[in-house]
């Protein structure tokens, strides 16, 4: 089993920017839109190299989503970009009608998702976006875990026909997946094999899960870590195979436990293989201002919280 190590901290939004740079060079149909957050979304290189394929819409997200839907008519592949809060909740009906129901090939790329946006506080820290997006028929929902995976995901979704929600974040976090990885939409990744408990994690919580597994190992607990980057369509098979082996599961995500990855996993298990599950997620609450580390500690979204959840779920086996 590969041992994953931090190759140096990087932000996932820069992974998006790097992916867009590559797409700008390789796929002439890719176009980008942004609602006054070019720097935050790391689009500078794409814009510099492809000025005619970039559309600055100003602070007008509803219009951005509609324009993106229209750009597909004639074969363009639009990538919209702004913060996750303004990519989803603010424009839900535009996405629902003009993109999802209209079967448009729009990629909704959302940065600064979750608590780790930090000091800006709850107005900007959306913890409901995975739920909102996964409920839309036909929408693919992806939440990569580090710079390399976000870059690979950005490139991969251009080849996928249909609407995609791509969720990533602001802070610099461990970059541990291989730079040359092949990103397969809907395919879970086995990061650490184990026999006592399955930890299913997405986004920033994946690295924390690996740290937790390492700590648990020293306590004699063998934790399997499965990275779900694609929350929809969910890799039911990989989840069932792992839980069949371990008999219990902890899900970990930077999102409300209502509507998130955990609920999707619970649905799969309830239908096929009922098993004890603990949820590392926010518990139906808004966030607040603070540093990312402080917030992840306060809301129970880190290595320590995952270890505690594992100990709890093991008692329920």
């Amino acid at each position: 089993m590969t041992k994953y190590t931090d190759q140096g901290k990087k932000d996932t939004r820069s992974g998006f920017g790097a992916g867009m740079t590559e797409l700008g060079r390789t796929n002439p149909n890719v176009v980008a839109l942004c609602a006054d957050l070019v720097g935050s979304l790391k689009l500078e290189t794409f814009i510099e190299e492809n000025p005619e394929r970039f559309f600055q819409v100003g602070i007008a997200e509803a219009n951005m989503i509609g324009i993106a839907a229209g750009l597909t008519v004639g074969g363009k592949i639009p990538f919209t970009s702004t913060f996750a809060n303004f990519s989803t909740g603010r424009v839900y009906d535009q996405i629902r009608q003009s993109v999802a129901y209209s079967d448009k090939n729009v990629k909704i790329c959302a940065s600064h998702a979750g608590l780790t946006l930090g000091e800006d506080g709850a107005t900007h820290q959306i913890l409901e976006d995975i739920g909102l997006m996964k409920m839309l028929p036909g929408m693919t929902v992806i939440n990569p875990c580090d710079f390399n995976q976000t870059k690979a995901a950005t490139i991969a979704i251009a080849e996928h026909e249909g609407p995609v929600y791509l969720r990533f974040g602001r802070p610099k976090v461990a970059n541990f997946t291989p730079a040359d990885q092949k990103f397969e939409i809907g395919k879970a990744l086995m990061l650490n094999e184990g026999t006592d408990v399955t930890i299913i994690a997405t986004g920033h919580l994946v690295w924390e899960s690996l740290l937790a597994a390492e700590a648990l190992e020293s306590q004699g607990i063998s934790a399997e870590v499965v990275n779900i980057h694609t929350i929809k369509p969910l890799d039911d098979e990989a989840i069932l195979a792992s839980v069949k082996k371990t008999g219990c599961v902890v899900t970990a995500e930077e999102h409300n436990y209502l509507g998130g990855l955990g609920e999707s996993v619970a649905r799969v298990l309830a239908s096929h293989l009922p098993a004890p599950q603990e949820f590392v997620a926010t518990k139906d609450t808004f966030g607040e201002s603070g540093t990312p580390d402080q917030l992840m500690e306060k809301y129970g979204l880190n290595n320590k919280a995952i270890q505690e959840a594992v100990l709890k779920v093991l008692k329920r086996k």
Binding site: V31, F55, N63, G70, L71, G74, S98, K104
Partner: protein, 282 residues
């Protein structure tokens, strides 16, 4: 066809009959705005737009149209069917289960001629702008047309789009506003005053023109031809078209009452008498 030819006038009457019969059959739908925009649709699809045979979603090398106020689907469906996009008989399935002719237009069931779902109001202008931008990127000098209800302008997204189209010089777009002055709850000026729509588009930077009587086929054709001639000059073109909701049926005019109400059997008979069959009912 020549402008104002008998065929076009006959088509206008036949489309009105289609609209009335479609909404009557399922006792639901929106006849008022549909009847008011009949001349516009007939002109657009049979005289104004440069269209290819058949339908492909991308619309390369042809003009494309987006209906933003999707509730006037009856007139859209009738004109599409009679232009040959799908069998006229299919109008029988309007709003029925398993139909491609949903209450509001959608691409989801694969109905030829429809390129976007609409119904939730205020989204069509943004979509039309996107399609216009793609035409520019593709070096396709065809135009993008869109239609919007006047009441629909109360949705804020329109003003984001109006600002964008002018600010970014989307000059291959002709957006027509159906200024019938009515919406579900009453007159637009009572419900939420729109004021001088043409002036508002002007101050946002659009090239604005008006069609005084959008129920006069000659005027509609002349107006839209004039609009075409104004494209490609650095500004999006807005046509403020005054129409009469319910036009062609005397008891449906001068009121908002028929915005979303179907006629009874007796009312249908009266309305059809006022629009005698021309090209043949579906």
């Amino acid at each position: 066809m020549m402008p104002n030819s008998k065929e076009l006038q006959d088509l206008v009457i036949q489309v009105r009959r289609d609209i009335l019969r479609m909404v009557h059959k399922v006792n639901s739908g929106h006849p008022g705005g549909s009847l008011g925009c009949t001349e516009f649709f007939v002109a657009l699809y049979n005289e104004i737009m440069d269209l290819k045979e058949g339908f492909d979603m991308d619309g390369h090398g042809e003009d494309v149209f987006f209906l933003s106020n999707g509730h006037i689907s009856p007139v859209f469906y009738s004109v599409l069917a009679r232009r040959g996009y799908f069998p006229v008989d299919e109008l029988n399935t309007f709003r029925l289960i398993n139909s491609r002719l949903q209450g509001h237009p959608t691409t989801h069931e694969g109905l030829p001629g429809v390129r976007i779902a609409s119904g939730s109001l205020g989204q069509g202008m943004s979509v039309a702008i996107g399609a216009a931008l793609t035409k520019k990127l593709n070096g396709d000098d065809h135009l993008v047309y869109s239609l919007h209800g006047d009441g629909e302008l109360q949705e804020g997204q329109n003003w984001e789009a109006i600002m964008y189209a002018a600010g970014k010089k989307v000059d291959n777009l002709i957006a027509t506003i159906d200024r019938n002055g009515q919406q579900i709850d009453g007159s637009t000026e009572d419900v939420m005053p729109l004021g001088d729509v043409a002036e508002k588009f002007k101050v946002f930077g659009w090239d604005v023109m008006e069609i005084e009587n959008g129920n006069n086929l000659d005027q509609v054709i002349a107006g839209l031809n004039e609009a075409k001639s104004r494209t490609g000059k650095g500004k999006p073109v807005c046509v403020v078209m005054t129409t009469e909701m319910g036009n062609g049926v005397d008891f449906m005019m001068h009121t908002h009452a028929w915005h979303g109400k179907a006629p009874s059997d007796e009312q249908l008979a009266t309305a059809l008498d006022q629009n005698p069959e021309t090209l043949g009912d579906y």
